[in-house]
């Protein structure tokens, strides 16, 4: 992390703040696409060529919305049902008897270690999508960005019986800097149109001899954006580069999806970079698709809640949309002084409207990470395979008018994990309804040196979210909610020899199961669940699922409501 005090030396020339007409680039985007389909399960959007332009786009992933017929529900009692609001977010159908991995610490085993030539920082770990699964993007402080992946060695990655081998490579990114600087943050996301159309953002720092006579150096900061040239799957080595000089030291580079509010495509978004800086502000950086230039725009245009200066440097920003139409958003900002800001936004309009705002000082140290978690929303957003399986779940309500913007009765509890560097980390419960009032300390979380990172995942596959906190003292702490007392308890503590810089999770091996990724000061460790255990669990659950599905199918067919002719 670079010092923010250097920032003062800069002449305060802000970059050109582009204030395009929103319609320009948004409609431009829409024109480019024949049809956009959103897979809300993973938050990804796919472009599929459409046969005829007259028809509204058909989403093969999502059930076709027919205003005439209500979503197929077993308990569909008509629009006058008093429990309608609650029924909008039905709990996930419990298909298999609750069976999960009881000892996750034992079943998690190390499958590979990628060595790092030098250390990274807490913003140095990101993932890019692969054909299946994902690759790991690591920005080291002194050397270029590394790409770690598991390569298929026996032919086709798309075949089920592939054999994988670890591969680490230096990403051939063209550094425009005269001298190799250091990488401060990396982030990446898939373009709107194709998950393998990459956008990679790299924040770097370079020392420039400002006044050679005085032997003084100032640091220049850049955001380099590498993106696939077109809306098609690109080779990761052949990316277009756009460089943006930053008049501040960059901190957390993340991204957020912004709904385009096209009535035809209520769930289509554009993704833009959100960057926090040493000027204690949050910046939004967006691509002009016509020129393919990345430029900073006024942050209040899409994030009015992030406008203005924060009391200290915002160390982490997190967003979460509460519904599949991107109509309500939670925003959390954790600052270096321990101040936490949480906002609830109505994003139906542009710019969005702030519904609620909360501010609280949480702990004494820096807030190093904030992350929303909601087991119910998580379950719903799992990508449903487009086969018979998807009929087991009621359709996601895409009708914005049914959402409750007053009392949020349709919103399941969303908790906020606040990782503090040396105070105990906290979990704020049900922030939509409680705001920041109800907080709970995570016991033992500050006993192992500084906490550096955390990741939220379903580690024991029980359908509920757990999270793992990594500490500089080389410990991984897994927390799980006790469902009877609703207290978050330590599930296990695992000791690593090295200081942990970042933890993450993702499907590195491309088999559908999530791996835990731990980045320490000298290596990246991939932890995988015991495959035999997963296979057993998969088979068991699939059997139960199919049993249940057949039952459901019968019900649907009786009601004559299920339209399974989507094939």
């Amino acid at each position: 992390m670079s010092e923010s005090d250097k920032f003062d030396q800069f002449p305060l020339t802000h970059p050109r703040t582009v204030d395009w007409e929103a319609e320009d680039w948004q409609s431009n985007l829409l024109e480019q696409l024949n049809a956009i389909t959103v897979n809300f399960a993973t938050g990804e959007i796919k472009m599929e060529p459409l046969a005829g332009h007259a028809e509204p786009p058909v989403d093969p992933h999502e059930p076709q919305r027919d205003p005439a017929s209500s979503p197929p529900k077993e308990d569909a009692a008509g629009p006058s049902s008093p429990i309608k609001a609650a029924a909008t977010y039905p709990p996930p159908v419990a298909l298999a008897p609750t069976e999960f991995i009881s000892d996750t610490n034992a079943s998690l085993r190390e499958i590979h270690v990628f060595n790092l030539p030098n250390q990274s920082n807490i913003y140095g770990l990101s993932q890019v999508n692969h054909e299946i699964g994902s690759k790991l993007l690591v920005g080291c402080l002194d050397l270029p960005v590394f790409l770690f992946e598991f390569m298929c060695t026996n032919g086709n990655m798309l075949e089920p019986n592939h054999v994988i081998e670890p591969l680490g490579q230096e990403l051939a990114l063209h550094m425009v800097m005269p001298k190799p600087g250091c990488i401060l943050a990396v982030d990446s996301f898939g373009k709107t149109t194709h998950r393998q159309a990459y956008v990679i953002g790299v924040c770097c720092e370079d020392e420039v001899d400002a006044m050679p006579k005085h032997n003084s150096q100032i640091r220049e900061h850049f955001l380099q954006v590498y993106s696939s040239p077109r809306e098609e799957p690109g080779n990761i080595d052949e990316l277009d580069l756009a460089t943006l000089q930053l008049p501040y030291a960059p901190f957390h580079l993340s991204h957020c999806s912004i709904p385009l509010h096209n009535p035809k495509f209520p769930d289509v978004c554009e993704t833009l970079f959100v960057l926090t800086g040493s000027d204690k502000r949050v910046h939004a950086i967006v691509e002009n698709r016509v020129d393919q230039i990345w430029t900073e725009i006024a942050v209040e245009r899409y994030f009015p809640e992030l406008k203005g200066q924060f009391p200290s440097v915002p160390y982490w920003v997190d967003f979460m949309y509460l519904d599949p139409c991107y109509s309500r958003r939670l925003t959390a900002v954790g600052c270096g002084c321990g101040t936490l800001f949480v906002h609830l936004m109505d994003t139906r309009e542009s710019p969005p409207i702030i519904l609620h705002s909360w501010k609280k000082v949480v702990g004494e140290g820096q807030i190093v990470k904030v992350q929303f978690l909601s087991s119910e929303l998580y379950q719903e957003r799992i990508k449903v395979p487009r086969d018979l399986l998807e009929r087991v779940r009621p359709d996601i309500n895409m009708d914005m008018t049914e959402y409750d913007f007053e009392k949020f009765s349709d919103v399941p509890p969303v908790h906020l994990l606040v990782v503090n560097s040396f105070s105990p980390s906290k979990i704020l419960k049900d922030v939509v309804r409680n705001g920041v009032a109800e907080e709970e300390d995570l016991c033992q979380s500050n006993e192992f040196d500084l906490q550096t990172s955390a990741t939220v995942l379903d580690i024991d596959l029980d359908g509920r979210l757990e999270f793992v906190i990594g500490t500089y003292g080389g410990r991984l702490l897994a927390y799980k909610e006790n469902l009877s007392t609703h207290v978050w308890e330590v599930l296990w503590i695992r000791t690593l020899g090295h200081s942990i810089m970042a933890v993450d999770h993702g499907d590195m091996t491309g088999d559908g199961a999530q791996e835990l990724i731990v980045m320490t000061r000298s290596y990246v460790q991939i932890l995988q669940h015991e495959p035999k255990l997963l296979k057993k669990l998969r088979l068991k659950r699939l059997k139960a699922l199919l049993k249940n599905t057949q039952h459901n199918v019968v019900v649907y067919e009786d009601n004559q409501q299920l339209d399974c002719s989507r094939s």
């Binding site: 419990a94 298909l95 590979h112 592939h162 799992i382 090295h498 199961a513 199919l546």
Partner: protein
């Protein structure tokens, strides 16, 4: 080929002081089949760490500036002892062997490995109420006259040495040769022994009882002896007072260990090995000195026949010595020099290696990566009555291995060497006679790693990192050795015997490095040991090579039942990879 290492388990030990590169090793000092970590610093503290305890199992203080440690069967009796060399030229033997303990007259609580007879004699003569002197201070101040130790030191120290020009080591009872004599002597000195026993039992009370993990393994045996001897113990109050003064000194730490034997050797020793260099069936102590000299020594146990005479003489001398306040102990063995070689160039390090015919050789690494080999002439029978000149002629012919690449090296860079590497062929037992030589690796400080077999370079790798140490490490029993080299900045390279390497970065500055098997979690496991400049030892135990194919649950062929299920119930006759991943992901995370 190892693809990567897993270093999940790390133990950090606090050990202050400078540790010399050869003053750390992983070996089995107490002959229980479990390897310990032995580390000595320049302040004279030697610690032995056993299993995964962050407290030392045994500690010994005031050993001078420890420059080298080595563990081996130096006495040729089938048991390992620890050899410690200090910078001022003391050669110490520390014996952790549990089998020796019943012979000792004093239990471990007092930690005096005194032979019974000496203690018995002392018990009459030595005045007991003198306060303890600081032993280390006295040694340092007296310099060469350190041999003149007065009585108070004798109490705290098992080495009781008569002044004189000759290096006369003090040894407890010899285990094998003097066994019958011990019985005799025990009978003779039963009265005084009981006194000493009383002393030990009195001593145990103030020093407290053992904690279970640090207690010696043979605690029960010793207690038995104590009990049997307690029956006819007369009361002696002077012993009690003495034991109190003992307890007050730092030598009475429950985990301390004392020197079993010591002797003067040349002062500038940098590395010690214990093996049979001249192939006579007896292990030698091979020492590399900083002044371009290699010396070998052999342990000569005392002749049991002469022992009786010597003992009588010793008693006489003892009586004289009493008047002068000095005593002399019977010696049961001594370290005698065998050979000395002087070289034209500085010696980087030495290693043992095996020749074609299965005989041992010593290989020296010299600046620039030059190598010299000391091999004994095979076929000549060595006799006991050979004069030194004859022995000299028979053994230890110096052969210079001719390596063409020697000239290419920079002669200002020092070099390290590690030999006796176990090859895959040796493990599978496919070697014929004449092919039994072991390869060795030479590492220069400039970063060159050379792998040499049969005196020709097999491969060379330039790491371009300064390297200071070469070690070997096997990933388990019956696994070939890896060459492990390390640099001060924390770079560690693992080379397999084909030259493929793997890099590991230790994220601190390294003072010393070693690796080898270390006992943890029920077995000797490969372990890396880094000593930092801040006085910490990092023990990466339980090193796991990750060379297996990475398993996923994507493999359908092994999961016929799932395949059937997908086919029959879902109509998916052929599932593609992404499809299966999607289904798996949904089943695992979307349902419960």
């Amino acid at each position: 080929m190892i693809k990567s290492f897993s270093l999940p388990d790390c133990l950090v030990l606090r050990f202050t002081g400078t540790v010399q590169q050869n003053a750390i090793c992983l070996a089995d000092v107490d002959n229980d089949g479990q390897n310990e970590l032995i580390v000595g610093n320049s302040d004279g503290t030697l610690a032995v760490y056993k299993e995964l305890s962050d407290e030392p199992w045994r500690v010994c203080h005031d050993l001078g500036m420890i420059s080298a440690v080595c563990v081996g069967d130096m006495r040729n009796d089938g048991t390992n002892v620890l050899v410690v060399i200090d910078g001022s030229g003391w050669f110490y033997i520390l014996d952790f062997n549990a089998t020796y303990e019943p012979r000792l007259r004093v239990t471990k609580e007092t930690c005096y490995h005194l032979p019974g007879d000496v203690l018995d004699r002392l018990s009459d003569s030595v005045c007991s109420e003198q306060p303890m002197k600081n032993r280390s201070m006295e040694r340092h101040s007296s310099g060469d006259s350190a041999l003149d130790l007065d009585q108070t030191e004798c109490l705290s120290n098992p080495e009781i040495i008569v002044s004189g020009s000759e290096n006369l080591p003090i040894v407890p009872e010899e285990d094998n040769s003097a066994a019958d004599q011990n019985d005799l002597r025990r009978r003779e000195t039963s009265r005084s022994r009981s006194i000493s026993q009383d002393r030990s039992s009195a001593n145990r009370t103030p020093s407290g009882s053992h904690t279970p993990h640090t207690g010696p393994p043979s605690d029960g045996d010793k207690n038995k002896i104590t009990a049997s001897l307690d029956s006819d113990t007369p009361n002696d109050t002077t012993r009690d007072s003495m034991s109190e003064s003992d307890t007050s000194s730092h030598h009475c730490e429950h985990n301390s260990i004392h020197v079993w034997y010591r002797q003067r050797v040349p002062a500038n020793i940098r590395e010690v090995l214990i093996f049979d260099l001249n192939n006579d069936g007896i292990n030698e102590v091979v020492m590399a000195l900083t002044d371009r000299v290699v010396r070998t020594y052999q342990w000569h146990p005392s002749d049991p026949v002469n022992e009786e005479l010597k003992e009588k003489a010793a008693i006489l001398r003892m009586q004289k010595a009493r008047k002068h306040g000095r005593v002399r102990r019977r010696r049961l063995g001594t370290l005698k020099p065998v050979q000395k070689w002087e070289f034209g160039n500085q010696i980087g390090s030495i290693t043992r290696n095996r020749n074609h015919d299965g005989t041992n050789a010593l290989i020296l690494a010299q600046p620039g990566g030059g190598m010299l080999k000391l091999i004994s002439k095979s076929g000549l029978e060595l006799k006991e009555d050979d004069s030194p000149e004859e022995l000299m002629a028979k053994i230890g012919e110096v052969n210079c291995s001719t390596l063409s690449i020697n000239e290419m090296r920079n002669f200002t860079t020092s070099a390290e060497i590690k030999g006796n590497l176990l090859t895959q062929e040796a493990i599978t037992g496919q070697l014929e006679v004449g092919l039994q030589s072991t390869p060795y690796a030479v590492v220069t400080m400039a970063g060159t790693v050379m792998f040499v077999k049969d005196d020709s370079v097999v491969w060379t790798v330039e790491t371009e990192k300064p390297l200071f140490c070469a070690r070997s490490l096997a990933m388990g029993a019956d696994q070939p050795d890896y060459v492990v080299v390390a640099g001060w900045s924390g770079y560690t390279f693992f080379f397999d015997q084909n030259g493929k390497h793997l890099e590991f970065m230790f994220d601190q500055s390294v003072a010393t490095f070693t690796c080898g098997p270390f006992y943890s979690d029920g077995a000797n496991r490969p372990t890396l040991v880094y000593t930092t400049v801040d006085g910490e030892i990092f023990l990466y135990y339980n090193l796991k090579p990750l060379e297996r194919v990475i398993e996923t649950i994507q493999n359908l062929d092994e999961d016929q039942e799932l395949q059937e299920l997908l086919k029959s119930a879902m109509g998916l006759s052929k599932v593609s990879g992404p499809q299966l991943a999607d289904i798996t992901s949904y089943i695992l995370y979307g349902t419960r």
